[in-house]
Symmetry: C2
Amino acid sequence: MTKIPTLTLVGAGPGDPDLISVKGVKALQKADIVLYDALVSTELLNYAPVNVQKIFVGKRAGIYTTPQTDINTMIVAYAKQYGNVVRLKGGDPFVFGRGHEEIDFAKAAGLATVVIPGMSSITAIPTSLGFPLTKRGINESFWVVTGTTRTEELSKDLYLAIQASSTIVILMGLSKITDIVRVFTSAKKEHTPIAVIQEGTLATQKIAISTIAEIEKTIQVREISTPAIMIIGEVVNQHPDAWVNKISTQMWIDACNSGCSGMTCDF
Amino acid sequence: MTKIPTLTLVGAGPGDPDLISVKGVKALQKADIVLYDALVSTELLNYAPVNVQKIFVGKRAGIYTTPQTDINTMIVAYAKQYGNVVRLKGGDPFVFGRGHEEIDFAKAAGLATVVIPGMSSITAIPTSLGFPLTKRGINESFWVVTGTTRTEELSKDLYLAIQASSTIVILMGLSKITDIVRVFTSAKKEHTPIAVIQEGTLATQKIAISTIAEIEKTIQVREISTPAIMIIGEVVNQHPDAWVNKISTQMWIDACNSGCSGMTCDF
């Protein structure tokens, strides 16, 4: 075989398959085999040639179907057998993912490597919902943390971020919501607006907008589950539905149950 | 005219024209007129129909060619005259841009509005360079700050961010580099690795990698100018060129001048 064994790591974007980059599409078109994750739209696989194998190596609902070490080994074996392995990962492959570990492993095994960035949900989800992460006159920074740390504890950096004007973005933090609420409440920030978005940019998207004090109830009512992103800060009030912050969750539920019209309830 | 006056705000991505999204391309194909910024590759204009006007409304080197108020007025006037105004902005249109103000103005004038997120340079540039913003065992968060605040001062959030384990990303901060160095040095963080990247993801890209203590010199040697992004923190050592952190800038300059081979000098 004359093909150079290659790992091409491609970011699939935040969910909506049309949010992949043109460069990502071109990479898929040149794939000799595709390994894809759970958070990747399967529509994207149609960009790869028909006769090319597409192998699911993701995890769903926290259950690892393929351990990371197996993925690394598969990448190297397939690259040597077929040539160009396109590894399709959700969002951007280097943002809170293990893309960098895959590249390191592939390089150590002598593979050529290419990394094509993807659109991260961190910025794409609030933008697609119509509000910015920062806004002149409100704040000047945003801070991004993962809720899932190696030690299973909330990052200590959160205690600093909470003192800043920053919008706080938490990925993979839904299972830590009670701890997050406690941290904000202890700092007397229970009235801070928060948006929790499941499957942002997809047709199946669900959103809960509330305050820290009421968000756990709102998440329950809206039946939000993983994967979800949280955005905490005054900019959430820029969302078209932000009026819900000004009334109680119970009033919102009552309004929805009584069949209020428009996007707020249907969102 | 039967067309609905519409503002379609489209993120063009970080620089490389192939990093626009498929959705952005489709929006351009449906444009009745295009208004584009300075940081947008003009290659992207080819996606719009040939007979459609493409108007430059950007600023270059801090000189405003078109004031924001004029852009807002143009959007509304053109939407009423032509129909669908595609407003093409660099990166993501809501990240430290004034996209949200344009949407607010357009809505108030009765236009329909659509926002298509773009890939932000914040994540795309480090990914394309081969290093992640966070890495297990190094840190768990990153903090994004604009160097250009309304008051012309460094954001106070930086003083909190510097105490965290976060990687710090500063956009539009090159003119504040002396102040930034002073803040880190005062906190005894002068050995922190820093990468400054001009025109990331483009063929014209330039990069300076150094420590806080030596970065001003490195920027000068590498002739880095705006637009540039700064990434500060231990993850910069994950960059393939990070060995330059371990030697002095002078040694690096000497090595370059003596014609060392490979990507480090040619990067």
